[in-house]
């Protein structure tokens, strides 16, 4: 019984933390663009490259 009395608040507060985290994420706009977020990780967003671009190559045939 003692164990239960301790475990119940622990379980509930853990759940509440999860809920709070979700609501915060929602408020900060993290659910506005689900498709974009899923794909953005695949691309590098770096700063503009130095002035001299890479030496030119022939375009790949039928890219």
């Amino acid at each position: 019984m003692k164990a239960i009395l301790m475990l119940i608040p622990v379980a509930l507060s853990l759940g509440a933390i999860g809920l709070a985290a979700f609501l915060w994420a929602l408020r900060s706009g993290q659910f506005d663009d689900l498709d974009g977020a899923a794909n953005r990780i695949l691309f590098d967003y770096e700063d503009p490259p130095p002035e001299t671009p890479a030496p030119p190559q022939n375009p790949p045939p039928g890219a």
Partner: protein, 780 residues
Amino acid sequence: MSTCAHCGSEIGPASDAGPDFCCRGCQGAYTLVRGMGLDSYYQRRCIDPALRPLKPDEDAGPIDYRAHVQSGEDGLDSLYLMVEGMHCAACVWLIESLLARQPGVAEARMNMTTRRLVVRWRPEENDANRVLAPVQAVGYHLQPYDPARLSKEGERQEKALLRAMAVAGFAAGNVMLFSVSIWAGDGGSMNPATRSLFHWISALIAMPAIVYCLRPFARSAMTALMARRTNMDVPITLAVVLASGMSLWETMHGGHHAYFDAAISLLFFLLIGRYLDSRARGRARSAAEHLLSLGASAVTVLEADGSRRLLPPEQVRVGMMVLVAPGERIGIDATVTGGLSEVDTSLITGETVPVEVRAGAAVFAGTLNLSGALRMVVTAVGENTLLSEIVRMMEVAEQGRAKYVAVADRVSRFYAPVVHGLGLVTFLYWVLFTAMAWQEALLTAISVLIVTCPCALALAVPVVQVVASGRLLRRGILLKSSTAQERLASVDTVVFDKTGTLTVGRPELIREDAAWSEEDLVLAASIAAASKHPVARAITRALPGVRVAEAVREVPGCGLEWGEVRLGGRRWLGVADDGAGRSGPELFLQKPGCPPVRFAFTDRPRQDAAQVVARLRRMGLAVELLSGDRAETVAQVAGELDIKQWRAGCTPAEKCARLTELAAAGHRVLMVGDGLNDAPALALAHVSMSPSSAVDVSQTAADLIFQGGQLGPVIEALQVARKGSTLVKENFVLAFGYNLITIPMAMMGMVTPLIAAIAMSTSSVVVISNALRLARGRMR
């Protein structure tokens, strides 16, 4: 055949841009992307064959973005744009990177879900047109929109739903934790004090969550009751309120059964359905609404002192003097005071042959000035333009359609009273005819409400709709209204507009029995390549990659001159108008010492138009053609596509009249159209579709919007809708069948919270998995 390194479309034999590109535009775009060091785009992208290839479009009228720039308080200018032509995530990366490398750009962020782009830059370092030029050069179309006019309402509601869903999920999970222990201890291994404690904790978690999550349902139920109607939300609200109220009472009196878990998990399931539904529809709506495409062309106002000023159409006043360059869309209603030109009115009237205008002629917003510069005095703006009049007509027609009642609400009209009646009968029976205490009888009655509770029923329709609209979205068909699919399934007549719907909507050279030789065509095309006139562009399109003639002189309102050779209209070259066979625009080429050679153009039917019409007929649908164009042209297209029923020269009002006539004869009509003249008819029809090339008013009026250059989506949409409506019916049968078993059990008082919970979730799962069948499999 090899494909273009930039746009991925096939390279024609006559390409002037070398073996790797289909046209010079693509070559330029490729060089630009490589020059910026962004060429890894080509390895990473995946081309969506259903969409327009990423080709820089020289035919698009120039949009002056400067008129739509908003200056922020932080000293940055910003522009909100809708991006068209996006294929995959690599496009997002390319657009953002291209913009980020422009001087002065502080931020460029694109939302992939809504396809909206926000650009911010420092105004002293760059201007709007220059910032956006590279993105357009690569082939994307950018359409400005006004974020202030975008309704925040939908977005806020969606967020509220998501929040409620999270709260319900949290509460349902935790309450279930206690419920399972109570069920497990039901045999007697749990002492009443522990059970009571668990009930209290459940109440503590569930009650605030229920109050919070019930609001969307309660609000809708109240609105329905106020209007003396009932909808699905009435039994939901009643069941949840009664169940939680009764459970609370039970808890306070140390009772055996509490239904907190049932009440909150019911809300959780329903909120999932609601959220998915609103998301699927919100996406379609956001893609279609609030574009400024007609208003996008800024108006050049000529001031009294001779200076010129660019103004957005809404700031133009009656009586102002306005200049319209050739190739520009006219943004206001006006009377021409100077200049000579031809005007393409196909958007307003559906007519494909350009109309000649001179001083004194009236022109309307939305038409396209073709050949010469025009000077005109504004006669109407805003509410008073022909455009607004058509919009008003459309709004009136739309009110009629709002009367359509969704299938789910029709079912609940008889379902809700039956359920409530059964609950009442159960309660009265146990109180009056047995020795049961009234509390226990009420509990039995509530269990009737809970198990019949329209969980499966309320999910039956939305789940099918979500799956169907997801499937259609992947095919480039946007479903805007929640009941469109039900309406689409019952259609028995399809009415098409001609210009821009059945046909491509732009002139193409007629090659059959032509009076010209190949040599004439080469000469004409090379001269025409110097001009932006749509008919001239059509002749260039007929022979892509032709060498551009140098030193071509454009004679406003007349044509083109290259040395002694002239290319232009009938009047300019002095050809007598015999009036025969004029079903489309034409051009004449006159070489010195030779009689003029005639090039005729026609607006060809879309590639798959004939097949689609034949398929529709095989599906048992009547096909009809209503056009604003002249009779000869319409007759020709109708003959080509084998459409027996057609009418020409229809005004918007006449189109509406014909639709009313059909409706009165008991037909359910699907209207497919794109022009402004179709907008009222689109709003009036039982259900309507528009290609995404349509003007924004029509897109607002239509229930469905389809992308791409083909008509196939009309069939796809009809098939998905029919399959969907079968699934909805199956789901209703499943839901009712389940109720046939559970209602008697509940009325006999045999349903405990455990059984209620199991029965409710299984029925929901069955209904959802049935709906998911629509996502798989081919439609043939």
